[in-house]
């Protein structure tokens, strides 16, 4: 069986409706004949954009973990919680399944995503041909789990909304919540800008 990709035959599959069409010759930018989306063989500047977003996310990962995400004021005093101390609180208060869940969603997943996407971008950049199938699977998994990192942001929101009973108890969001939200959004954008087809490409195709 002869294997050929759309790009090798000069065809482009639309990234929105997946229609395969042949772009007019010597057109700088063209639109999908069915859905009107802009056509490109590979996501424009995929590797460069992925790296840029990954680096921004990696930088913000530090303040996201150091700054408090939640500030609790009650008659017993003020308590500042970071992502990790929130997990520790769940662990010591006996709800260890939830502690594990929150730890995985807000600390492990963003970190794994940063590492795994860096690996995918680096290997795609070198046009490596090792474990292409596994790398595609890894990408698919990253796309699926990334959103679950938003968990802690939602927890902060619910607590902030509920706990505001004056001097008795009051919960405020800390700066860490914003940094963390930014990390989640940036890693999601990074995995969206990565083009998994680059894992399989041998020759350089025109993009954009």
């Amino acid at each position: 069986m002869i294997e050929a990709t759309a790009a090798q035959l000069g065809l482009i599959a639309c990234h929105v409706c997946e229609l395969v069409s042949r772009p007019p010759a010597r057109a700088a930018a063209c639109a999908c004949p069915r859905c009107g989306a802009r056509l490109y063989s590979r996501k424009p500047d995929s590797i460069a954009r992925t790296w840029a977003l990954l680096m921004a996310a990696a930088i913000l990962y530090l303040p996201a973990n150091i700054a408090p995400v939640m500030i609790t004021t009650s008659i017993f005093g003020t308590q500042r919680d970071t992502l990790l101390s929130g997990v520790a609180y769940l662990w010591t208060s006996g709800s260890w399944p939830l502690a594990v869940l929150v730890f995985v969603a807000s600390i492990l997943v963003p970190l794994l995503k940063l590492l795994a996407l860096s690996y995918l971008a680096a290997t795609a950049q070198r046009r490596s041909r090792v474990r292409q199938r596994q790398r595609t699977r890894l990408y698919r998994m990253l796309e699926y789990i990334g959103r679950w990192s938003m968990l802690d942001v939602f927890v902060v929101m619910v607590l902030v909304a509920l706990v505001n009973v004056g001097a008795l108890a009051n919960i405020q969001a800390g700066a860490g919540a914003m940094w963390f939200g930014a990390v989640v959004v940036l890693t999601m954008l990074a995995s969206m800008s990565f083009d998994p087809r680059l894992i399989w490409d041998r020759a350089k195709y025109r993009d954009g």
């Binding site: 035959l9 997946e18 042949r22 595609t136 942001v153 902060v156 902030v160 509920l162 706990v163 930014a182």
Partner: protein
């Protein structure tokens, strides 16, 4: 020039010929194992029913409190937009916007968009906005995070249970229903079928 029978894998760009599938079957890329397309008939009817249910549940979930809490006789309640608004009031406007977008706006775009597409399709109408609307719905999908939001609600309930009485509200049950119905709808919805319908309608406009 169109190649209606040729498809390219969206994950590795391998070209292959579209083949007919048995009911419930799915086509998998031989090179990278991505799911290419699934077989479903009348998916539009079933998805329309599910999306109507989702619209109802979304309305209930946003009109009735998701959770309420009691500390020494003082009762507070939380709705999605109230939570976002409180974040804004306390200076965390960006977090408030993020939460409002992912738990309210994008799910709303998904539900209203699908209704606006499937209802006319079902009635055989072809308003001009169908194609851009479906594109918007597909692009809003990864940012619509109702299920993550509900998991967040559960975690905060456990955190609060130590210091106060927390009461799950009607909104919470509606949101749980919404998660199931939305997941069901998006697994039933066959984008290939919708695009094919749009293609046919555009080629031969209804008299």
């Amino acid at each position: 020039m169109k190649h209606s029978t040729l498809i390219a894998c969206h994950e590795c760009d391998l070209l292959q010929r579209e083949v007919a599938l048995p009911p419930g079957g799915k086509a998998i890329c031989p090179r990278c194992t991505a799911t290419l397309y699934t077989h479903s008939t009348d998916s539009i009817d079933r998805v329309l029913a599910l999306v109507l249910a989702a619209a109802l549940l979304f309305a209930i979930g946003n009109l009735f409190p998701v959770v309420s809490m009691e500390i020494q006789g003082q009762r507070t309640e939380a709705l999605v937009w109230q939570g976002a608004w409180r974040l804004h009031q306390e200076g965390e406007t960006l977090v408030g916007i993020l939460v409002f977008l992912t738990a309210f706006i994008f799910p709303l775009v998904q539900i209203v968009g699908l209704l606006a597409i499937l209802l006319p399709l079902r009635l055989g109408l072809t308003p001009h906005y169908l194609v851009p609307a479906f594109r918007t719905v597909e692009q809003a999908k990864p940012w619509s995070m109702v299920e993550v939001f509900m998991l967040g609600v559960l975690v905060s309930l456990v955190k609060l249970a130590h210091m106060a009485t927390v009461i799950p509200g009607v909104g919470m049950w509606a949101f749980f229903g919404l998660i199931i119905v939305l997941a069901w709808a998006s697994s039933t919805l066959n984008p290939h079928e919708v695009w094919a319908r749009l293609d046919v309608l555009e080629a031969e406009p209804a008299p």
